[in-house]
């Protein structure tokens, strides 16, 4: 794999993570128990969709085949998405959604902080903008995890269940493959090994404050980055792409 292929693959992954997570959060629109949290969730989802657009627009240019951001979002099949498995997991109950966001955003923020200093200029620019958004998301979602974990017996139990269930998807965040290695070496990209150490520290601090236990690292699921997904992604994409597939090129 050459340098340019790796850059394209890396940018697409960033776009896929943002789009798929954004779409997951969109599924919760109009389903929140409180109006203010409803607004927050919709704002956050839009932040992700906005990031996906910027990454996809750049990926389309890098690819050079004239594919637009919409083509990349709506006209690819499941195995062409390279988002993390963690991202595509169903929303579940509120504690599941919050835990998923805290686990992912604790990683994503560190990734973005590193990307701001990478030598791929466009990526650094997008990362600088996204970093501010994610810093706020993480602050908000962390507070929620602490409230749930350190809340009632039931919320504590459920939040611990969420952490235990989602933990097996966190290994993939740090499993460097060829794309990650080339991006790190050729573009001064994030060093996943050191990010993992800081992620563990940050997550341990949050879990401790939430009076939740950090699970042991046992078997870790992987495959998302290579396009091998859990059964959940297909349904999600089918719903997301339905309109563009039935009415190609529809706009409003």
């Amino acid at each position: 794999m050459n340098k340019n292929d790796a850059l394209l693959a890396y940018v697409l992954r960033l776009g896929d993570n943002a789009l798929i997570l954004g779409q997951r959060m969109v599924e919760l629109v109009a389903a929140y128990p409180e109006l203010e949290e409803e607004l927050a969730n919709a704002n956050f989802a839009l932040d992700y969709i906005g990031q996906a657009r910027m990454f996809y627009a750049y990926a389309g240019e890098l690819e050079g085949n004239g594919r637009s951001e919409d083509d990349l979002a709506f006209l690819r099949d499941e195995n062409e998405y390279h988002n993390f498995l963690l991202i595509e997991q169903p929303n579940g109950h509120f504690g599941d959604s919050i835990t998923k966001l805290v686990l992912f955003e604790s990683f994503y923020l560190l990734q973005l902080e590193a990307l701001v200093h990478c030598s791929a200029e466009r990526v650094a620019e997008i990362a600088a903008r996204a970093e501010k958004e994610i810093r706020y998301h993480l602050r908000h979602n962390t507070q929620w995890l602490v409230r749930l974990g350190d809340g009632t017996d039931e919320s504590h139990q459920r939040a611990q269940g969420s952490v235990d269930n989602l933990w097996r998807f966190t290994g993939e965040l740090f499993a460097a493959d060829e794309v990650d290695n080339i991006f790190e070496n050729e573009f001064d990209g994030p060093e996943l090994y050191s990010i993992r150490g800081r992620w563990r520290e940050n997550v341990a601090t949050v879990l401790a404050e939430a009076t939740l236990e950090m699970p042991e690292d046992e078997w870790m699921a992987s495959g998302g980055k290579e396009g091998r997904h859990s059964e959940h992604l297909g349904y999600m994409i089918a719903e997301m792409q339905y309109l563009q597939r039935v009415h190609p090129g529809a706009t409003w």
């Binding site: 409180e34 203010e36 607004l39 927050a40 704002n43 706020y136 602050r139 409230r147």
Partner: protein, 95 residues
């Protein structure tokens, strides 16, 4: 599950440096930090502010509408208290 309402908070937003905080509306939140987040997400989505105050509505001491006459009417006939005898220079936007 029983539905218990979160306490009400009043939200004050400073739209830019130098201006004072203005009442923007109110939100519900379970605690102070959440109130700040909710105020941010509800009232500053379109870059409306550079600073937010939130305060529990129950903490606000308000004048009694029944006492409006005693409170405010005595000021009405004292026009000499109004600084309307000065010329305001052109270009002063916020006074």
């Amino acid at each position: 599950m029983s539905k218990k309402e979160w306490p009400l908070y009043e939200v004050f937003i400073r739209s830019k440096s130098g201006l004072s905080h203005r009442h923007a509306g109110s939100i519900h939140a379970a605690d102070d930090q959440m109130a700040l987040d909710h105020a941010r997400d509800t009232y500053t989505r379109r870059s409306e502010g550079v600073s937010i105050w939130v305060v529990r509505s129950s903490q606000i001491v308000a004048s009694d509408p029944a006492e409006t006459a005693a409170f405010f009417e005595p000021a009405e006939d004292k026009i000499y208290r109004h600084p309307t005898f000065y010329e305001i220079p052109d270009g002063v936007e916020n006074l």
